[in-house]
């Protein structure tokens, strides 16, 4: 079984091979180092002139990518830690996302900015955050989050080769070493994929009774959600349906609404901070969906910086037990 790391790395190799316009840029991305999280391993050896080690200039290199994209290339820019995406917000929000539209659709910005988010490794307050929530809802910017399901490499590949608009591509640090789970390999689960380029996935425990809770999530939290779903089913006879998104923004409510029409209960999970997190939009769209009798809750990080010490970090970030508890509370409502 391939890992998410290998899948992403293979996708980048494929993209560079496939299209001579693809460039890969970032800090410390050259071999033998191959990037802080090793996603770029081998790229510079194979494509020396299209893999560029950049200075430590997160804002600058995202802007660089915008300029390259505007002139017909398909750059992929790596931001070493997602925490530093704050340095590129102006380039993302005021340049990358607007250029096409401002030009009356005359130009395109086929840029991918990849970055690892997430904690649980004790890296402390500036190296553990899940900050994509601050970039959701920026018009003109697509935000995609990989997960272990199906084909994370293919997801990246589509963003790089087929998407003519800027994509912020989120990876969770803990996911890299996890195995990729083809839908057909998910033996305990009955899994479906929505249509569309960046699909959502619907997962139910195979053979279980009809679910009474819809769990909407993405990224690494989908791992925790699967674990929680199994415990909920086997230990508590509470049955859930997971809806795992890959496209966070623009948010497409239909997959979650479709499930909610059957369950009426919604649990949104994310590792980022609760307030104005992705889950807020999920809940908002759910209530706007006029389903009648909707009950909903969120599990997310406490609205707090992320401490370095393991025992503190565990208190701030959402844990499997938190999911369990929230689901049980919801089931009782």
């Amino acid at each position: 079984m391939t890992t998410v790391l290998k899948a992403l790395n293979a996708a980048l190799h494929f993209c560079l091979a496939e299209d001579p316009g693809v460039y890969f840029l970032g800090e410390d991305v050259l071999d033998p180092y191959g990037g802080a999280f090793k996603v770029s391993q081998g790229l510079s050896t194979a494509y020396a002139d299209r893999v560029i080690a950049t200075p430590i200039s997160e804002g600058g290199i995202v802007g660089l990518g915008v300029g390259m994209a505007l002139r017909g290339l398909r750059p992929v820019v790596e931001i070493m830690f997602g925490d530093f995406i704050t340095l590129a917000m102006d380039q993302l929000i005021n340049h990358a996302a607007k250029m096409r539209w401002m030009s009356n659709d005359r130009v395109r910005v086929p840029l991918v900015v990849r970055t690892p988010m997430g904690g649980r490794r004790g890296y402390g307050p500036t190296h553990s955050q899940t900050l994509e929530k601050h970039l959701l809802g920026a018009p003109g910017l697509r935000v995609i989050a990989a997960c272990t399901l199906d084909d994370p490499g293919g997801l990246l590949q589509k963003a790089v080769l087929r998407d003519d608009d800027p994509v912020l591509f989120i990876e969770h640090k803990l996911m890299y070493t996890r195995g990729v789970l083809a839908l057909s390999d998910l033996e305990e689960w009955q899994a479906e994929r929505t249509d569309g380029v960046y699909p959502a996935y619907r997962l139910r425990i195979a053979g279980a009774p009809a679910p009474t809770i819809t769990v909407a999530t993405y990224g690494y939290m989908a791992e925790m959600a699967r674990e929680a779903a199994l415990r909920l089913a086997y230990q508590h006879e509470v049955f859930t349906e997971l809806v795992v998104y890959t496209q966070l923004s623009p948010f497409e409510p239909e997959p979650v609404l479709e499930s909610l029409r059957r369950t009426g209960r919604l649990l949104a999970l994310e590792e980022g901070g609760r307030t104005l997190g992705w889950g807020a939009e999920v809940l908002a769209q759910a209530v706007e969906g006029d389903l009648g009798g909707l009950r909903a809750a969120r599990v997310a990080a406490r609205d707090m910086p992320i401490p370095a010490a393991a025992m503190l970090e565990a208190q701030v970030l959402p844990q499997a037990d938190d999911i369990l508890q929230a689901a049980l509370d919801l089931a009782r409502k």
């Binding site: 460039y23 002139d49 299209r50 560029i52 950049t54 200075p55 200039s57 804002g59 600058g60 290199i61 995202v62 802007g63 660089l64 990518g65 915008v66 300029g67 390259m68 994209a69 505007l70 002139r71 017909g72 290339l73 750059p75 102006d90 380039q91 005021n94 340049h95 996302a97 607007k98 250029m99 096409r100 539209w101 401002m102 030009s103 009356n104 659709d105 005359r106 130009v107 395109r108 018009p139 003109g140 697509r142 589509k158 087929r162 998407d163 003519d164 608009d165 380029v197 623009p250």
Partner: protein
């Protein structure tokens, strides 16, 4: 597009900008425009002198004060007027307005300094594609406050990118004199990043053209980025009516108005003919734009395209 080096044509280009901008300022109180504007009056020699070296396909990256750059680049006066009026026929269909102009290989944005990383990336792309094209990026003295500028200088120099930086030091950023904004030395800032730079305190279009010549050659020859620092002055307010500068200071700089300075070297009859032609061109452009229909809300597309 071809760019003329004929002195009379250089005069025409400067006059087109001047009369366009004056007409904009004159008509603002009429409510013809919505939003804001930053005029180029006084600085015309910069764009016209520098861009006279452009070749087809070269890229120009401009800033908030972009009308002069755009017209010198070869942009349509009518389409620019229409953009300012919010007409469907505007350069960007009314979406961009005065500060956000995109047409062919010309790009302008109102975020100071943020355009420099873009220009650097464009230069990287042109180098990568071996297109032989170069990128000319304009910035003001005030934009030197932005960190993005230095991130760009570093990368452009490091990778020997075909980027020509044109710093127009009009001695003010909005209301703030350069002495309150800038420490050290402008030229040294470029040089510290390994970018050869040259400066001139002039409004003479021929001198600017001449100064730019070598820089263009070096950049086009693949020698990496170059910077031109032009010390100049704007005669009109920062945008519309906001001028707190000493009127005597303005008057002093007006004495070296680039237009009469250059016109004095030309055949007066030819100058008169050009003046009449430009007068006609400007009037026609604004008249036509005024008659165009307003941008149509139904034309608004979503900001993300469909995927292939």
């Amino acid at each position: 597009m071809t760019y003329s080096s004929d002195p009379l044509e250089l005069y025409r280009q400067m006059l087109r900008i001047r009369r366009f901008e004056e007409t904009v300022l004159d008509n603002f109180p009429r409510g013809l425009f919505f939003g804001t504007t930053h005029t180029y009056i006084g600085q015309e020699a910069d764009a016209v002198g520098v861009l006279s070296h452009l070749q087809e396909g070269d890229v120009v990256v401009s800033n908030h004060r972009c009308h002069g750059h755009f017209l010198a680049y070869g942009g349509s006066m009518h389409a620019l007027a229409a953009e300012l009026m919010g007409r469907a026929t505007g350069v960007c269909g009314g979406r961009g307005g005065s500060q956000h102009i995109q047409w062919r290989d010309f790009y302008a944005s109102g975020i100071l300094g943020g355009t420099l990383p873009l220009a650097t990336g464009m230069a990287l792309a042109e180098k990568a594609r071996r297109s032989g094209r170069l990128v000319v990026a304009f910035l003001g003295d005030g934009a030197l406050g932005q960190g993005a500028v230095y991130e760009s200088l570093n990368m452009a120099a490091l990778w020997h990118l075909p980027l020509l930086l044109v710093l127009e030091n009009n001695r003010y950023a909005q209301s703030t004199p350069i002495t309150l904004n800038l420490a050290g030395d402008i030229l040294a800032r470029f040089q510290a990043f390994g970018i050869p730079a040259e400066e001139r305190d002039t409004t003479d279009v021929l001198e600017i053209r001449e100064m730019a010549q070598q820089a263009f050659q070096a950049v086009r020859a693949g020698e990496g980025p170059r910077a031109l620092v032009i010390h100049t002055y704007r005669f009109a307010p920062h945008s519309k009516g906001d001028d707190t500068r000493d009127p005597q200071e303005i008057a002093r700089y007006r004495e070296r108005d680039p237009l009469p300075l250059h016109a004095s070297r030309l055949d007066p009859e030819a100058v008169q003919k050009v003046q009449a032609e430009v007068e006609h061109e400007v009037a026609a452009a604004f008249q036509r734009a005024e008659g165009d229909s307003a941008a149509n809300p139904a034309s608004l597309t979503p900001p993300l395209g469909a995927m292939s």
